[in-house]
């Protein structure tokens, strides 16, 4: 087998795909891009905010209802169950909702950018 000397590309700049070039150059293209970025940022902030609200609600719930934290569910105290296992489904659900909406936003952008 022959040995070939290879070196890493110095910078990250790589040629972009044609339609993306077009989007960069035209004014209308930039309008679409800005609106896509705004939509995606809003989506990310809404999902993050919702998740953090649920996260804060858990300890508040435990503090607000006396005796709830110590209630045994299948031998495990309820506060352990809620914080140790209950938060993960919320994380997964938020992530799944976000991915669906983000992909939909991108599909809408692609339709717009390719129609023009």
């Amino acid at each position: 087998m022959t040995r070939v000397r290879v070196t890493a590309p110095l910078s990250a700049a790589r040629p972009a795909v044609q339609s993306r070039e077009a989007a960069e150059e035209s004014e209308v293209g930039q309008l679409f891009v800005r609106s896509l970025i705004r939509t995606q940022l809003r989506l990310a902030l809404v999902v993050a905010g919702g998740f953090l609200l649920v996260l804060c609600a858990f300890p508040l719930l435990l503090a607000a209802v006396p005796g709830l934290a110590g209630t045994l569910v299948a031998g495990v105290p309820f506060d352990w169950l809620l914080l140790g296992a209950g938060i993960y489904p919320v994380t997964g659900l938020s992530a799944w909702l976000y991915i669906r909406s983000a992909a939909r936003n991108e599909a809408r952008y692609r339709d717009l950018a390719e129609d023009k």
């Binding site: 070939v4 990250a12 700049a13 993306r20 970025i37 938060i87 994380t91």
Partner: protein, 488 residues
């Protein structure tokens, strides 16, 4: 515990790691293979690898130990580690993949069109990586000391040797397989023993020594400030970790980067149920471990204490194997990403430079680890997250979402965050655990906002320096790739 058990487990994991690493060598041939596995790794493989890399000594040993010590307060650690991935998904995953950069310094240079920003980012990334390797080596030292009675340095040194061999031999491609294997090993190594323990306890009808609410050490409960500050560090720290970010470049496009992250979230959620279970069982049945100052070893000692005999030895061997998988995988992930940064910036980016850089990035933290003492593992990793959240996180978030960021602003923000958080860490270790005020022990709640504020204000003041390439780069970060077109 039988000392041979620990040694056999250590040797088996090291050999398995090396074999998978060398198997990967046969298919990695170009520099692209070396750095990012040519972006052809499938989402499930990639997700397992990310999980394998992320679940470090802190997750495997530290979380259970901290839960044993401080109960429900410590449950915020696994929650934060997982939720950090949600933040990564929401704000970073797809744009970062679309940036097409190999490392974080590559990204900041391309985004801000500045070599100076690149240099500062490189320094920060290397510091973060080194800080994060040290607790892994402490974990290895602890495990070797507890399970075999040998001096701790044997553990740290053997981890560094195995990591150097695998990274130097195969680079990222083999690392991907190694990491994926190690995720499943870690999960099995925690899940099987704890299920055995729970069934054994239920079968024998033994009653808990103490209820879960009883505090075994009389440690003060954390106030809301500590919990919030910890969550800030973990939520925002994850998205700046160098070894986590480099993984996203191995996805073929932005959408698959998101899918991979979703799978990772699932894998992490399943994993963290088990350290929590260890912590809870330890608190109820062996609270004396917390008082003996061996809380971090609860995962290692529990099978021997509660089951005993040959079964206990076998289960202990499995746990020790899992622990070494944790040290090896996180350390090798960090070493690969640090070597990528160091070799491109200092050594010219050749494969030989990469190998030399890999050795440098593993040996320096080894020196640190040998010179310092192990703190609570989860706590010291929490501080690394705080440091990342105050330095790399602001530059990534603002770089991806805000057109107004300038190179001067980015540098000023990173330096501010680094100095404030680094200062807090240094003074915390000088003052000792007892003498450190709570706001210094958990600095993220004020250092992260400070870094963001400085970055935004200085960028606003240097508006003229917004690079002319901004519109082009932002388009590239956020617009979807054409379907079925892979960039190669």
């Amino acid at each position: 515990m039988n000392p041979a058990v620990g040694l056999v487990a250590l040797v088996v994991v090291s050999v398995a790691t090396a074999v998978i690493g060398f198997y990967g060598l046969r298919i990695s041939r170009t520099t692209g293979d070396f750095y990012v596995a040519s972006r052809t790794v499938r989402p499930w493989w990639n997700a397992s690898a990310i999980g394998g890399e992320y679940l470090s000594a802190a997750s495997f040993l530290g979380v259970a130990g901290l839960i044993l010590l401080s109960g429900t307060d410590a449950l915020w650690f696994p929650v934060g580690y997982t939720a950090g991935y949600l933040m990564l998904l929401l704000f970073v995953a797809a744009p970062l993949r679309r940036s097409g950069a190999y490392t974080i310094p590559d990204f900041t240079e391309a985004r801000l069109d500045s070599r100076a920003v690149r240099r500062v980012t490189s320094v920060v990334v290397v510091v973060v990586g080194w800080l994060y390797i040290v607790p892994q080596l402490h974990g290895a030292a602890l495990t070797i000391r507890i399970t075999t009675g040998l001096p701790g340095w044997v553990g740290s040194v053997s981890v560094v040797i195995v990591v150097c061999l695998t990274v130097v031999a195969g680079g990222m491609r083999s690392i991907t397989f190694v990491q994926a294997f190690q995720y499943w090993l870690k999960l099995t190594a925690l899940a099987v023993p704890v299920l055995f323990i729970v069934f054994a306890l239920m079968g024998s009808g033994s009653t808990a020594v103490a209820p879960a609410v009883v505090n075994p050490t009389g440690l003060a409960a954390a106030g809301p400030y500590q919990n919030i500050s910890l969550l800030v560090a973990l939520l925002f720290g994850t998205l700046g970790l160098p070894h986590v970010l480099v993984r996203f470049y191995t996805n073929p496009d932005g959408h698959s980067a998101r899918r991979t992250t979703l799978i990772v979230l699932g894998l992490l959620s399943v994993f963290y149920l088990f350290p929590t279970a260890y912590g809870l069982v330890g608190r109820m049945f062996t609270p004396e471990l917390a008082r003996s100052g061996q809380a971090d070893a609860v995962v290692l000692l529990l099978p021997g204490q509660l089951i005993g005999g040959t079964a206990g030895d076998l289960l202990s061997a499995l746990v020790v194997a899992g622990a070494f998988a944790a040290f090896l995988s996180t350390t090798s992930g960090l070493v690969v990403s640090l070597a990528g940064v160091i070799s491109q910036d200092v050594l010219g980016g050749s494969v030989r430079g990469f190998r030399l850089a890999a050795v440098i990035s593993a040996v320096v933290p080894l020196g640190f680890a040998l010179a310092t003492d192990s703190l609570a593992l989860a706590g010291s990793v929490g501080l690394v997250f705080a440091f990342t959240a105050s330095t790399v996180c602001p530059v990534l978030l603002l770089g991806i979402w805000w057109r107004g960021l300038t190179d001067t602003g980015a540098i000023a923000g990173m330096v501010t965050g680094g100095v404030l958080c680094g200062g807090a860490m240094v003074s915390g270790s000088v003052l000792g655990a007892a003498g450190t005020p709570f706001w210094l022990a958990q600095p993220a709640a004020w250092t992260v906002p400070a870094a963001f504020a400085v970055m935004v204000l200085v960028s606003r003041a240097t508006k003229r320096r917004v690079p002319r390439t901004t519109a082009r780069v932002m388009t590239r970060l956020h617009t979807p790739e054409r379907p079925l077109v892979t960039e190669r």
